[in-house]
Symmetry: C2
Subunit: 217 residues, 2 copies
């Protein structure tokens, strides 16, 4: 059996490994708001269970099995988020903490039935792809941050980089939802803010925002 702690570590290592294969003790500690010494302890335990490849001072990677577990936890997290938003009418900024708990419920049957109940969704409320029961993520969509677009470019919002509720509420407030089509009307050299045209209305967003909005291309 796996503890909640172990699962959270594996998930963190997976997420951190997406850019750059190996992950450092400090990065994991930061991601989980723990001390580096606690992480070292856990890495040894995870290595004993063959879920990570760990070499002292050299960082850590997931084994095939560890990666598979991480993907199952992420699958559960995203399916539960989808359930909360589509069936229980939560807003997309309210679901993360609850899913953080629900993702540890231990029942494969439960999650497969939930998946079916939801109609086998491919993306969660934040636009993140949901792994299937075999851990496959087949997100064929390509995206780039808004900050990579040039004046005159068009695109559709399909995701966010920063998933904090404060950012998500800002987006709600400004009408920047997933699926919204945007058109880059102007980029101000001065502060790299973006003037967008959305349904014939204009909206200016900061550089910070432009880096956290993912646009399909």
């Amino acid at each position: 059996m796996r503890s909640r702690s172990e699962e959270d570590y594996l998930k963190a290592i997976y997420s951190l490994s997406i850019k750059g294969s190996s992950t450092s003790t400090n990065e994991i500690a930061k991601a989980l708001t723990m001390k580096a010494s606690s992480v070292t302890d856990m890495l040894k335990k995870l290595a004993d269970k063959k879920w990570v490849n760990y070499i002292k001072y050299k960082g850590v990677t997931l084994t095939k099995e560890g990666k598979q577990i991480a993907l199952q936890i992420i699958r559960k997290h995203r399916l539960w988020e989808t359930f909360l938003v589509t069936n229980l009418n939560f807003k997309w900024d309210e679901v993360h903490d609850i899913a953080e708990q629900l993702e540890h419920i231990d029942s494969i049957e439960l999650i497969n039935r939930l998946d079916k109940h939801l109609g086998f969704p491919k993306f969660d409320p934040h636009g993140d792809p949901i792994p299937d029961k075999n851990g496959k993520i087949q997100d064929l969509r390509k995206s780039q941050p808004l900050s990579d677009l040039k004046k005159g470019d068009k695109g559709i919002i399909i995701g966010v980089v920063d998933g904090t509720s404060i950012f998500l509420r800002y987006l709600d407030n400004e009408g920047l939802n997933l699926g919204t089509e945007i058109h880059v009307a102007e980029i101000f050299d001065f502060d790299f803010s973006y003037k967008l045209k959305i349904n014939n209305k204009f909206l200016t967003v900061s550089e910070r925002v432009s880096k956290n909005l993912l646009i399909q291309f």
Copy 2:
């Protein structure tokens, strides 16, 4: 915050206290399949938190607050069971273990929305009443075990005493579902088995079964 363990203890004490106000260390140990010494330790902790009244060697009762917590856990357990059966098509004998985990998810908003989503059900799949958000159980139905009925009595099955999956599957198999109307055609003195008439068909059940089937009156 409350741990999963603490919640399971409070729930067990509540259930055991239904018949006879005070509960013994040994009873709790048996209910949770733990050792009596572990129970003693936990009772001290629960007493420190003012959730139980505990006097050495004298048994334990829930405080008002402890009872309220227990009722909230039971509410969550029964609502989740209802969700699993009515929305995810689980059978009534498959849901207990999953609900045993889900009942510890910490979010009042979640459970209230789930309640609403399910249409504020009053009973769970096993016929047990679901406490409302204030912990009130208003089960006006009166029931008695089938074993209390006499020859010629009629009634409707509204619950079970024993909720183990083996018993529940037996009931499924014999068509003894909640809501089924039964008629006591015969009681055999020999072994106290009951011959029932159900939709003009006859079915004989053992004394053991008769003690675990609750009939409305």
